[in-house]
Amino acid sequence: MTAAGHAPGAERTGRGAPQAGLLVGGLVLLAVVAVLSIGVGARAVAPTEVVRALLDFQGTDDHVIVRDVRAPRALLAVAVGAALAVAGALIQTLARNPLAEPGILGVTAGAGFAITVGSALGLAVGQAGELAFAVLGSVAAALLVAAVGRRSPLRLVLTGVALTAVLSGVGLGLRLVLPDVFDAYRFWSVGSLAAREQAPLALPLTAIGLALLGALLLSRALNALALGETVAHTLGAGVARVRAVTLVLITVLTGAATAIAGPILFVGLIVPHLARRPAGGSVPWLILYTMVLGPVLLLLADIGSRVLLPTGEVPVAIVTAFLGGPMLIWAVRRYGAGSL
């Protein structure tokens, strides 16, 4: 990850001030949505009480709920949202394809399927095992799709969709054949944050944190790569090395997010589309914006997942799709589909 050891070139673009302002605005939005998400639920907690519970813990029922249940869940939503959105931004930059997304390219499906098979065989035990299998699955899927789909953006997407279809078909078939063993697949087939905050998640969270840092460090080299291979060579970027490191980051981010929450599609497709125009062609800003907007989208979806059904919860992946669809349509109509 030392391929480009520079800080993201915020100040050097010349348009730093408005872009930094937008970033601060995004962070404020993120804070508001996070407080809202901690407050909403089966027992509503007032925003002022949420802030007090976080800063000055008193031990009341509300404070316990906030500290033990809601805040960890919000943290998970932030981590997963950021991981998926940045993975999407990286994969779109690398593939130079506005349709590329870990979900569409089959990386998420690979991770989910690997966890299912691993736990059915009794190998994926505990957080480390699940994470290992998730990363393994996403690496395998990414390598396969990249090998088959290289040189043609459409073939890449086609391969990813075909792989996702095969894995979901085989997964569903196996579930029908071996109902006991593959009961776990039900969880991995629809992404959800419900009750995940109770599991020990230090390892995947650390992995996401490190990978996000790596993405920021790498973003300047990716900026050069986005200009085309020849230009990147001239600018002194090690094209092959940057590509390899980016691929590793994508698979770690996708694998860890899937290990935490199951497959959540769409975040990685929509958020970069929303962030691209304000970022103005700069990969460092794109990654910073997606890092803030991804959590906002997932937190909003998580709030929705708690209020949409009178009893129980809707899996967050369903709400993500419902929120993200209109955003994507708006972005495409406003900026065009091929704006990279």
Binding site: P98, L99, I104, L144, A147, V148, G149, R150, R151, L154, R155, V157, L158, T159, V161, A162, L163, A165, V166, S168, G169, V170, L172, G173, L176, V177, V190, L265, F266, L269, L308, L309, G312, V314, P315, I318, V319, A321, F322, G324, G325, P326, L328, I329, V332, R333, G336, A337, G338
Partner: protein, 331 residues
């Protein structure tokens, strides 16, 4: 069969003949296979009417015909939309027509009483509504295939989310029935379910066959198409109607059978070595794919039957990936 394509190269003829033979063979196998095996002689006797067999002519024949005809309809629907959007991702199952038809059917099951007429109307209306929404949203100072695909993917995600929400809200028995149907299945299809769908599909396919030449011209590019006297606006409308009609009709009877509309035209065009997305190979590949998948779905877990959508997805996907791999090797 000259109406389907301008180029009657030897390869196309061979491909057509072998795909037809393959479909016929799979159909015969489907008539023989079941809880009890009937020899080909028995099947032929039952078909020609010299010997009455309820099992073959009332149970297996409708299912086999449904597999072949629905497969062809889905293949044509996919080819039509992929031609329209000039993008393999522009097939009905990706841009949400299947999901929309399924929403209509779900509405008929959960809110209305769920008779077969309501199911059919519901899914056609659902498919038409979704395609109208996608078309209106993507039509903005001219027509762009890629824009339509991206908007279609977004609409598909939303409609699928609505479907899941409806199923989650529904009562348990309704939900189980709806989910069992959601992967697409030909289990228990009888003659009574098929008369109207078959006639609708026949009319739609005949319409498309008459205009196949114009479709090929349109695939060469807007300018060339207009120069050669093709009315693009009316042709596009007809193509959308045929594509939506085929998809919704199949969904009404068999549920959303995903992936055949995406895979069959792509497999067919690679087998035919054609430049565009020709209709006839797509139709025949779709028929072979769905009938073969339905046979496997019955065999794999016998006596229980898998939903055919599961098998068609797995097989079609593997084959498509293999074809794409070969393409990379050549490039």
């Amino acid at each position: 069969m000259n109406v389907f394509g301008i180029r009657t190269e030897r390869r196309t003829v061979w491909l057509t003949a072998s795909l037809l033979a393959l479909a016929a063979g799979l159909g015969l196998l489907g008539l023989c296979y079941g809880a009890t095996w009937s020899g080909p002689g028995e099947v032929l006797a039952a078909l020609t009417g010299t010997e009455r067999s309820v099992v073959i002519s009332e149970w297996r024949l409708p299912r086999v015909l449904a597999g072949v005809v629905f497969g062809a309809a889905l293949g044509v629907a996919g080819a039509v939309f992929q031609n329209l959007t000039r993008n393999p991702m522009g097939s009905p199952d990706v841009i949400g027509l299947d999901a929309g038809a399924y929403t209509g059917a779900l509405f008929a099951i959960t809110v209305l009483s769920g008779t077969s007429g309501q199911l059919a109307t519901g899914s056609v209306v659902g498919g038409l509504l979704v395609s109208a929404v996608i078309y209106l949203l993507s039509f903005d100072r001219g027509f762009s295939g890629l824009r339509l695909v991206v908007i279609g993917i977004a609409v598909n995600a939303m409609v699928t989310a609505i479907n899941s929400w409806i199923v989650l809200r529904a009562e348990l028995e309704v939900a189980i029935a709806a989910v069992g149907w959601s992967a697409g299945s030909l289990n228990g299809v009888g003659w009574a379910d098929l008369r109207i769908p078959f006639s609708v599909i026949a009319v739609l396919l005949a319409l498309m066959a008459c205009r196949a030449h114009a479709v090929q011209q349109a695939a060469l590019g807007d300018a060339i198409a207009v120069t050669t006297g093709v009315g693009l606006g009316r042709l596009r409308l007809l193509m959308v109607l045929v594509g939506v009609g085929c998809t919704a009709t199949v969904t009404a009877v068999a549920g959303p059978i995903a992936f055949i509309a995406l895979a069959a035209p792509q497999i067919g065009r690679r087998l035919a070595g054609a430049a565009g997305v020709p209709l006839l190979p797509a139709a025949l590949t779709g028929a072979v794919l769905l009938q073969g998948a339905d046979l496997l779905a019955q065999m794999l877990l016998a006596p229980a039957a898998l939903p055919v959508g599961v098998v068609s997805t797995a097989i079609g996907g593997c084959y498509l990936i293999w074809l794409l791999t070969k393409e990379v090797g050549r490039a």
